[in-house]
């Protein structure tokens, strides 16, 4: 038995999302863990240390999900994998369902923990419930919700890297370029471990410095509520919630956000929620672990100073 895990790399190393799913795949304890990498890799990309024993390396950086899906299916068949694991990020969400169909395999989207037998827990109803989903086919395709499992260093030896290729046909979606939304060096919001988020309580875009200062002190990414994105105070890609991005950081600090149900849908799976709001009746306090009833303009600079003093 073996497990195939699909890995994205950046500058030759597995991304954090990749290291996380590789950790998940090894913790499944279902046999040898083989990583599939399409694109750039140097050495084993850091994958041996999280439990991968072999890397199948396809030198072409495939960008078309139908090609990525064919490559994955062929690799899974070649090694006889009964479980294929992806990160539930934008690439995994496009490739994994295709692989499930082509392999006639049951698909679990966004597992948040290790399975019991073939039953996986995933979040449904926008974080308001969980479903315990059992795969009834021989082969399972699983995507893992980013930041739900973490990177677990097993201290394993360097993985063997083998060149791999398969007939994946031609790219039918033409790639004409990438425009980064996050500035160089910052973590993409869905992968951020800490997030400082602010809403209409900040009164205007000119006041975001105190939010950014706190984020910087914490090494956190910044996010915002929908009206703030809609009014153009902050870029759209920072908007979290039901119609924006869903995040699951270890720490979510909400500043001047009321905590409407549609906002909570995107953040209620955060491990620890801190709310700072002048209104003690703000609904967000009901979803919070820690709260300060107070004015962001006074609290945030003090909080930033207290963190910088650590």
């Amino acid at each position: 038995m073996s497990v195939l895990v699909y890995i994205s790399t950046q500058a030759g190393r597995a991304t954090n999302a990749g290291l996380e799913v590789a950790s998940y795949a090894s913790a499944l304890d279902s046999g040898e863990v083989v990583a599939l990498v399409s694109g750039d890799i140097s050495g084993d990309g850091g994958l041996g240390a999280v439990g991968v024993s072999k890397v199948l390396h396809c030198a072409d950086a495939l960008t078309d999900n139908s090609q990525q899906s064919k490559l994955t299916k062929e690799a899974a068949l070649a090694i006889g994998a009964k479980i294929v694991v992806f990160s539930g990020n934008s690439i995994g969400n496009a490739v994994a369902p295709r692989v499930a169909i082509s392999m006639n395999a049951g698909y679990v989207a966004g597992a948040t923990s290790l399975p019991e037998g073939k039953t996986y827990v995933r979040s449904v109803f926008s974080g308001k419930a969980t479903a315990h989903v059992q795969v009834t086919t021989e082969t399972s395709v699983i995507s893992v919700t980013p930041n739900s499992f973490g990177i677990k260093n097993t201290g394993g030896p360097e993985a063997a890297v083998e060149a791999y290729s398969a007939d994946v046909g031609v790219a039918r979606v033409t790639f004409n370029g990438f425009t980064p939304t996050s500035s160089e060096g910052t973590v993409p919001l869905p992968e951020a471990v800490r997030v400082v988020s602010a809403g209409r309580g900040l009164k205007g875009p000119e006041n975001w410095e105190i939010v950014e200062d706190l984020a910087k002190a914490l090494g956190a990414s910044t996010a915002c509520s929908r009206p703030v994105g809609d009014m153009g105070w902050r870029p759209h890609h920072e908007h979290v919630g039901q119609t924006g991005i869903t995040i699951r950081p270890d720490l979510y600090i909400a500043c001047g956000i009321s905590g409407a149900i549609q906002h909570l849908a995107g953040v209620n799976q955060s491990k620890v929620i801190v709310v700072i709001n002048t209104d003690p009746e703000a609904p967000f306090f009901k979803a919070a672990d820690y709260g300060i009833v107070g004015d962001v303009f006074e609290v945030l600079p003090k909080l930033t100073a207290a963190i910088n003093a650590l």
Binding site: S90, P97, R98, G110, S126, V133, F175, N176, L251, A305
Partner: protein, 265 residues
């Protein structure tokens, strides 16, 4: 300015060429403020008293952009829904917003591959130019069905589209991805999922609502598809403990609890 009247042949060719045949996948979803509860030994969502809406991504984004494209280029927008007759009100709403006609596959789906295979079975010889879905359903949150339809039909797939323009049979798209956006193009038929940015919500007007009543809603039976997963049980999250309040004048205390109790910084 060259007038098309001087080029009757070109006009006809362009018209035939651009006339688009679009299929939009529309799911029924509980209104966001619904109370979430389960029944049948917690194996099924309790629909009693729940107000249903068109899944927001399907309505605001996929459907509206499809209607706009047909308004510009001619053609038709068909909606397709896998569900029982309780879906008909939301299908009528899509028709009122401007879809041309609707198909409902009469089944109560329990997994995404079942939905996708049923839609693919229906769509396979219909010659749609684009099959559009939403980014995700707000009840299943799988972001899986459109990708699965693409695989069933061996079509290209573009996820998380925030901009879609057509010129002839070539689509140019902007799609969200981790850390940024991709500029993409596709020639010929494809499947996509739509998200915020591609279109603005439309409110149906009186004429739309009236004409929706007479538009065709075709009900299709198909029992050929098997499921590959099933839900053992649904659970509600354990209630959060009370929020610990820290004095506004003492943020050092917040830093201390985050450090020592939550062990998070």
């Amino acid at each position: 300015m060259t007038s098309y009247l001087c080029h009757p042949k070109k006009y006809i060719l362009d018209y035939i060429y651009l006339s688009m045949k679009l299929l939009v996948c529309i799911s029924k979803a509980p209104d966001t403020t619904s109370r979430i509860a389960f029944t049948d030994g917690d194996k099924r969502f309790d629909e009693s008293g729940v107000q249903f809406i068109v899944n927001p991504y399907d309505e605001w984004y996929a459907l509206v952009r499809a209607i706009e494209l047909v308004e510009q280029n001619g053609g038709s927008v068909t909606t397709i829904t896998v569900g029982d007759a309780t879906c008909d009100p939301i299908v009528r709403k899509a028709l009122a917003i401007g879809a041309s006609d609707a198909v409902r596959i009469d089944a109560v789906p329990t997994d995404s591959s079942q939905v996708a295979r049923l839609i693919a079975n229906y769509a396979q010889d219909q010659g749609y130019d684009i099959i559009l879905g939403g980014k995700e359903t707000i009840d299943n949150n799988s972001s899986a069905v459109p990708a699965m339809i693409a695989e069933c039909l061996d079509l290209p797939y573009v996820a998380l589209v925030t901009k879609l323009e057509m010129s002839g049979d070539e689509a140019t798209l902007i799609a969200e991805t981790t850390g940024g956006t991709n500029n993409l193009s596709v020639k010929g038929a494809f499947v996509m999922s739509a998200t915020k940015g591609i279109a603005e919500q439309r409110i149906p007007n009186m004429r739309g609502i009236m004409s929706a009543r007479t538009k065709q809603l075709q009900v299709v039976e198909d029992s050929s598809v098997e499921v590959s997963t099933h839900v053992d049980v649904f659970k509600l999250p354990a209630p959060k403990g009370d929020c610990v309040l820290v004095d506004a004048d003492n943020p050092e205390e917040l830093v201390r609890v985050l450090r020592e109790e939550a062990k998070i910084i």
